[in-house]
Point group: C2
Amino acid sequence: MTIPRAAKTLRRTRIQEEKEEQILEAALDVFSANGFRGSTIDQIAEVAGMSKPNLLYYFRTKEAMHRALIDRVLYTWLEPLRAFDAEGNPEEEIRSYIRRKLEMARDFPRESRLFANEVLQGAPHIEDELKGPLKELVDEKAEVIRAWAKSGKIVKCDPYHLIFSIWSTTQHYADFDVQVRAVLGQEHAGEGRFEDAARFLEQLFIGGLRPNGLES
Amino acid sequence: MTIPRAAKTLRRTRIQEEKEEQILEAALDVFSANGFRGSTIDQIAEVAGMSKPNLLYYFRTKEAMHRALIDRVLYTWLEPLRAFDAEGNPEEEIRSYIRRKLEMARDFPRESRLFANEVLQGAPHIEDELKGPLKELVDEKAEVIRAWAKSGKIVKCDPYHLIFSIWSTTQHYADFDVQVRAVLGQEHAGEGRFEDAARFLEQLFIGGLRPNGLES
DNA sequence: TGTAATGTTTACCAATCGGTCAAATTATCC
DNA sequence: GGATAATTTGACCGATTGGTAAACATTACA
């Protein structure tokens, strides 16, 4: 008797691994560029170089593909925040967090846009991840920042909004890439904008959070 | 002979004004929540409370509706940046620009998401606006900021990335609203997050841009 | 090498998509 | 009030959507 879906088998064959990899790679391309509703299985099939029913042999529905993609990407995406170290030097931790997030915006813009599309449209498929794992991780790191502020290592500030501001400024270069390029024009055509951004953001955050500023 | 499309008549009737208003209001709802490709004329028709052919009587295509909506909203959306005054006090100008942008994120989140969706998906419908009017406006204001930095009124920094960082941090509260809510949790359920954000961002930018900092 | 499980494809389905058409209804103005 | 223009709608169209059924091809393994 034929088992109808590969996903149901316990042991995964070599072909399964390869094809699922291929499909998710194509799905990342399409979903990140068009959002969930704006993407079609046919598009993904074409990018993946296989027939539509063949995709649906590995993932029963469009939703299942999207879900698998989110699951695969989310952990990696939160890695920089997870690396945030309570024991480290605050200034250096923030600086390297910004740098890491900017590198991810440069090297993995599709992943950034995948989440941006999802959140922008109300996060219908990742609500649980936001309220669960994400919130817990942010709560934990916010506590670290709060302790730094309390002990005077950085200026007193709302740790949540600090994290939001680092997220937004760095991911901006992935999510709003076409706008950034359009405004900067072709004179800044190269990848130098990421280095410029890194310089500016480090200056902004390090300067803005320095405890011994001129005003509280 | 019946003129096939209302848009072609020169004088606009009262009904035309009202209905086009109704339609664009509904279109803003739907496009901002689902993006262009993810939105359907039927959805917009339902929100607008009229039949689909009736929508298409006022706007010949889905694209035409989207275009009209963008045209109507774009000017207003850029108003805060336009108000940026070269003659004013730098610190106060930046502070009030942040405040205005945050107010817009709070009061007009749909407009923010409309553009975010569009830019995120490669700006297929507003490329010209980005490279034209937007770039020119930003170029002009960047020159103002550069002058401030040169005369020592604020720290030396890349004016374009400064503008990007204000855009991203403020619009974040509209575009990524569900994420912000999820992370802050229900204990911060009210609208207080906008005031908290304003406090944090003013502190960050004013502190980060102050010229007489401890290091260059 | 045979055979059972796995993988792939062609043909197809009902639902929905953007959009049209002609007929019906309503508003405007003399 | 009647003619004429403006507005509204139900029925419909071809294309595309997500997804299925079943025949066919390939692989793994005894």
